[in-house]
């Protein structure tokens, strides 16, 4: 190669990665970063989207949200829904993974059960919502079984009484989400070196000691990163709640996403909805920063 050709080649190598990345960056920039800036701008305007020349509103819309008791109720429901979901996803996922990983069960049975235990994960949120509405209908199969075995005395309206609705949607979400933990923890369990357990056997360790001192510490990185992701994603859940209860009855299952959606598309108060959306964004970003720092520290 001549020198000129070589420097030309070098230049091409330097520019090439940006060219390959340009379509993606264009889309992410125009359709993700720009809208994020836009929604922040909307939250400081009066009649955002609806008027061409909206006036500056300052922090008025944030003030309105923080003065709204429904917002605080939504925040609390979101926290309850998310924390319970993550805790039970993790517990059920762990128990199922440990059971499937046991050498007491026959490998064929293990493979069949693994496929069946993953099932809830394969269904769309809307379909999960519809299935649970059918199951938890006042005249549905769950009430009928529970009454037969005497757990409840009369039909419970799971989704339409304020006392049970939040627990019912949380339960449906727990059912739908544990397989992510199960699959990840199973993969993690298979990666723990066998000699750890052999060494513990020689020392005469009991099963629960092996679990506490070997298995759980070894799985800790997976548990922490999946919990963080699950927390961020569960916090954003919309369709499951929208279809089962729509946030009701009397706001008893209102979460941040349904609260924001109603502000925007039922009340057409897009400015206030933007302020609420920015609050959700900030919470998510905070958790995401935490997640990324954790991943980098590993």
């Amino acid at each position: 190669m001549t020198r000129q050709k070589r420097s030309h080649h070098k230049l091409k190598r330097a520019v090439a990665p940006y060219l390959y990345l340009s379509p993606s960056l264009l889309i992410i920039g125009l359709l993700m970063l720009l809208p994020m800036v836009t929604v922040i701008a909307y939250s400081f305007q009066n009649s955002a989207v609806l008027r061409r020349d909206p006036s500056f509103a300052g922090l008025k819309h944030y003030q309105a949200i923080f003065d709204d008791p429904v917002f605080w109720a939504s925040l609390w429901h979101t926290l309850y829904f998310t924390c319970m979901s993550v805790i039970f996803h993790m517990t059920i996922g762990m128990v199922f993974a440990l059971m499937l990983n046991s050498d007491r069960i026959n490998p064929t049975l293990r493979n069949i059960l693994r496929v069946l235990y993953i099932l809830p994960w394969l269904f769309t949120a809307v379909i999960i919502a519809v299935i649970w509405r059918l199951l938890l209908e006042p005249n549905g199969v769950v009430n009928s079984i529970l009454m037969q075995i005497g757990v409840i005395g009369s039909k419970v309206e799971w989704f339409s009484s304020p006392e049970t609705a939040l627990h019912a949607v949380t339960f449906a979400n727990i059912w739908a989400g544990y397989p992510l933990f199960m699959v990840s923890l199973l993969a993690g369990l298979q990666g723990i070196p066998k000699d750890f357990y052999e060494a513990a056997d020689i020392d005469g360790a009991k099963a629960y000691q092996k679990l506490i001192f070997i298995t759980i510490p070894q799985l800790m990185p997976i548990i922490i990163s999946i919990s963080l992701l699950d927390f961020i994603w569960t916090m954003q859940v919309f369709p499951l709640i929208w279809i089962t209860t729509g946030g009701g009855p009397i706001y008893s299952t209102e979460v941040l996403s349904t609260y924001t959606y109603k502000l925007a598309f039922s009340s057409y108060n897009l400015s206030q909805a933007s302020a609420s959306a920015v609050v959700i964004l900030l919470i998510s970003l905070g958790l995401t920063l935490f997640y990324i720092r954790y991943q980098k520290a590993r």
């Binding site: 990665p17 993606s24 889309i27 299935i131 991943q295």
Partner: protein, 280 residues
């Protein structure tokens, strides 16, 4: 060494199998109930005591769904949008992944962090500005609106998945092309793409699923019945015929078929995609 066949040991094995059975009931009963209800008549669904197997097996619910052009249109829309987004996503992500995997450049680390962090942006936050944009560009209630917005959510995952896959391919392959004087573009299409099929399949599967499941944007950015996708169709069915549970279950079964089929046929790729966000 584990001692076998002591009475205590047998007891543990039996208890474990009982627990597995309980787990199976928890995981699979709701799905079984959906399936069996879709083959029942509407009155049998609420029969007391509940019938575990359909007593009078009927396909009437499926006939009602498949014989209704409005409902078939929901399926067409879902397949069309998910298919289009999948093709676009895989192409664009492949280019970006190639850039990430084979080049060192300024800003690589921060771009990578940016892409990882976009995965966690709440859809509801983007919904309001998207609504504003879609209305002002006159694409409200069109396929274009759905395809463009879905791309934003599928691309970050697809780039991470594809980069991860390309990183597993030996670099000597494309370096050989460079030694022969070929450009990186030639190396990409002649060498990398032909051996990237598993990565492409995993990415496609995951992208398709994300689109197939999407609800919030389809709900907000489309309006006419002819533009609605399956998840919205199910919700509409619920509003219109609140008591036609067998039809709702049949539509749910039909709406779950693509996911179930992909899972059964390509389990490995499916799991690779589903856990992609979390193992990164």
């Amino acid at each position: 060494m584990r001692k076998r066949h002591t009475p205590k040991d047998r007891l543990i094995t039996v208890a474990l199998h009982l627990a597995l059975a309980a787990g199976l009931f928890f995981a699979a009963f709701p799905i079984y109930w959906m399936l069996s209800s879709s083959f029942k008549s509407n009155t049998e669904i609420f029969a007391l005591p509940p019938t575990i197997l359909p007593k009078a097996f009927t396909l009437e619910a499926y006939a009602a769904i498949l014989g209704d052009p409005v409902k078939l249109r929901f399926f067409f829309n879902s397949y069309f949008v998910a298919g289009a987004v999948t093709v676009l996503t895989v192409l664009i992500a492949l280019l970006a992944a190639y850039g990430f995997s084979r080049f060192n450049f300024r800003g690589k680390g921060s771009l990578n962090t940016l892409i990882i962090s976009t995965q966690t942006i709440p859809p509801i936050t983007l919904l309001i500005p998207f609504f504003g944009l879609v209305v002002s560009y006159g694409i409200f209630d069109t396929y274009v609106a759905l395809i463009l917005t879905y791309l934003v959510f599928t691309l970050p995952y697809a780039i991470l998945l594809m980069t991860g896959y390309l990183n597993t391919l030996p670099r000597d392959l494309d370096e050989a092309v460079a030694v022969d004087g070929g450009s990186s573009w030639t190396a990409l299409w002649r060498v990398i793409v032909p051996i990237s099929l598993p990565g492409v399949v995993a990415t496609s599967v995951y992208t398709f699923l994300l689109c197939w499941n999407e609800f919030l944007f389809a709900l907000t950015l489309t309006k006419s019945t002819s533009m609605r996708t399956v998840p919205i169709g199910i919700q509409l069915l619920m509003g219109q015929h609140a008591f036609e549970w067998n039809q709702m279950m049949a539509m749910s079964v039909l709406g779950s078929l693509p996911l179930l089929l992909i899972y059964l046929v390509a389990q490995r790729y499916f799991l690779a995609g589903m856990t992609a966000g979390s193992v990164k």
